[in-house]
């Protein structure tokens, strides 16, 4: 199975572990990820706050490259929720609306690019569960996660508003995948609520409360760790636990890893292969020690 792969800006820096583990798991499942040539920033939230048509157009440059590189036959896969939302929203607006097509087409034309609308934008979680399929994933599991209590955190931008492959209010795709790995996903009403996104930088008090609510919900439901599917969610949930503890008198020390890292653990990949060890919650590695070979 061949796909074009759009890493996005965060996956080459703060979210490196997601990129490494995602590629490793994909490889194991015979999902061939070919990196999109010369991709640019998707045009995520802050860019859209400053530019309208300009933002849609830079998002569409990626789609135009994908159409050419994949000959209109390869889906464009991303792992970042925000890239996924931005690229697929642009793609939908382009398909739905004559005027958008003309407007975006004209801007692309100024750079000698064109897009015919022939690319499908996918999230890696969708590809692994629906194209590869849970049976095939299960066949690769060599070290079951032994009933590990995981809170599957989807964040907000994956299942909205297109809700392409899961429910916008109570998604289950990741829970099902984690079950196949041998984990025991907990009930988690806050699973699709927002992590605060860029508000963590611009209005930290507001974002800290949002993250506190997510962490509390996971903890109250018995989760031992949280699995995420987005680099921004991961850092917001992980990096500010200390601030939350001092602000709200809580006591969080909750490992927050990528679902691809858990999949890698269950499939027998080494700690290095899933890039475990860059976490900011100090007990993360010791917590998973039993599961991961050196």
């Amino acid at each position: 199975m061949d796909y074009l792969y759009y890493p996005g800006c965060s996956l080459s820096t703060s979210g490196k572990a997601y990129d490494v583990s995602g590629r490793a798991v994909a490889r194991l499942l015979a999902v061939n990820l070919v990196e999109l040539d010369d991709w640019n920033c998707c045009g995520t939230t802050p860019y859209f706050s400053a530019q309208g048509l300009g933002a849609f157009s830079i998002a569409a440059r990626n789609l135009a490259i994908a159409e050419k590189q994949g000959d209109g036959k390869m889906d464009l896969v991303t792992m970042c929720n925000s890239c996924y939302m931005t690229l697929s929203k642009t793609n939908h607006y382009f398909a739905e609306d004559e005027r958008m097509r003309k407007d975006i087409g004209a801007v692309l034309g100024a750079a000698g690019r064109s897009y015919g609308g022939g690319v499908k934008v996918r999230h890696l979680l969708d590809v692994l569960t629906n194209d590869v399929g849970l049976e095939a994933v299960k066949a690769k599991v060599t070290r079951e996660l032994n009933g590990l209590k995981v809170a599957a955190y989807y964040g907000c931008q994956m299942s909205r508003p297109g809700a392409e492959f899961d429910d916008p209010e109570y998604p289950m795709t990741m829970d099902r995948l984690l079950s196949v790995l041998g984990a025991d996903p907990v009930e988690f009403p806050m699973k699709a609520k927002c992590c605060g996104g860029m508000l963590m930088t611009t209005s930290q008090d507001v974002a800290l409360k949002m993250v506190r609510d997510v962490l509390s919900d996971a903890m109250e439901n018995g989760a031992e760790c949280i699995a995420t599917a987005c680099p921004l969610c991961q850092i917001n949930l992980e990096a500010y636990q200390g601030d939350i503890n001092s602000k709200f008198g809580t006591n969080f020390m909750m490992p927050v890893v990528y679902f691809t890292q858990l999949a890698g653990m269950a499939m027998g990949l080494t700690r290095r292969e899933i890039d475990l060890g860059r976490e900011l919650v100090p007990n993360t590695v010791s917590f998973f020690r039993d599961y991961v070979a050196a």
Partner: protein, 193 residues
């Protein structure tokens, strides 16, 4: 460049808002808002907004765009799309929030305590220059122009990320930077939104 608008121009700004929002599919549905409040009830940050999402749409319809642009509301929006998936009238409230942010930046509305506009502007400049967003440079420039002390507070986290090799100091650049330039120049010259 930011242009200050006088009260006289507000009517015109409302027209700009409606014109630009209707450039997006379903954007004109905003006039079908029934003020049910589902958006506000679904919004995780409504409690911190000067006006809730429902109120914003009310003010828009009442022609009071200035109130809205002078408020912190859209800058408290985290773009989580809860409102958009739940609105029974199919209104894309999140798109309206984006449009308000763009207008506020373009016309120089800077409500006190708001820094989301600075973050957006810095982010955009970086992407226009490199084609990608350099996390490190984004935060440094943002804190320098809003709150240099915030930078000190963030230094601890920055150091931890650096130690764990989760920050890169040099920005990544794409080869097609000239393409981005040409596209944005076209947008500017045509006076596009």
């Amino acid at each position: 460049m930011a242009t200050q608008v006088g009260a006289r121009d507000m009517g015109r700004l409302s027209d700009v808002f409606l014109e630009e929002i209707s450039r997006m599919p379903g954007g004109d549905k905003i006039m079908a808002c029934q003020q049910c409040g589902t958006c506000s009830g679904s919004c995780p940050t409504a409690y911190a907004m000067d006006y809730t999402p429902r109120q914003i749409i009310g003010w828009l319809r009442a022609g009071e765009l200035e109130k809205v642009l002078n408020s912190n509301t859209m800058w408290m929006c985290a773009s989580c799309y809860s409102c958009t998936v739940r609105c029974p009238a199919g209104i894309k409230v999140t798109d309206a929030m984006y449009e308000l942010k763009r207008l506020a930046i373009k016309y120089g509305f800077t409500p006190r305590g708001v820094t989301g506009n600075t973050l957006a502007t810095v982010f955009q400049k970086n992407v226009d220059k490199y084609g990608r967003s350099p996390e490190m440079e984004l935060l440094a420039r943002y804190y320098l122009s809003t709150n240099p002390f915030g930078m000190l507070k963030m230094a601890g986290l920055g150091l931890k990320l650096f130690r764990n090799k989760r920050i890169s100091l040099a920005p990544e650049k794409i080869r097609g930077r000239d393409e981005i330039q040409k596209m944005l120049q076209y947008v500017r010259e045509k006076g596009e939104w």
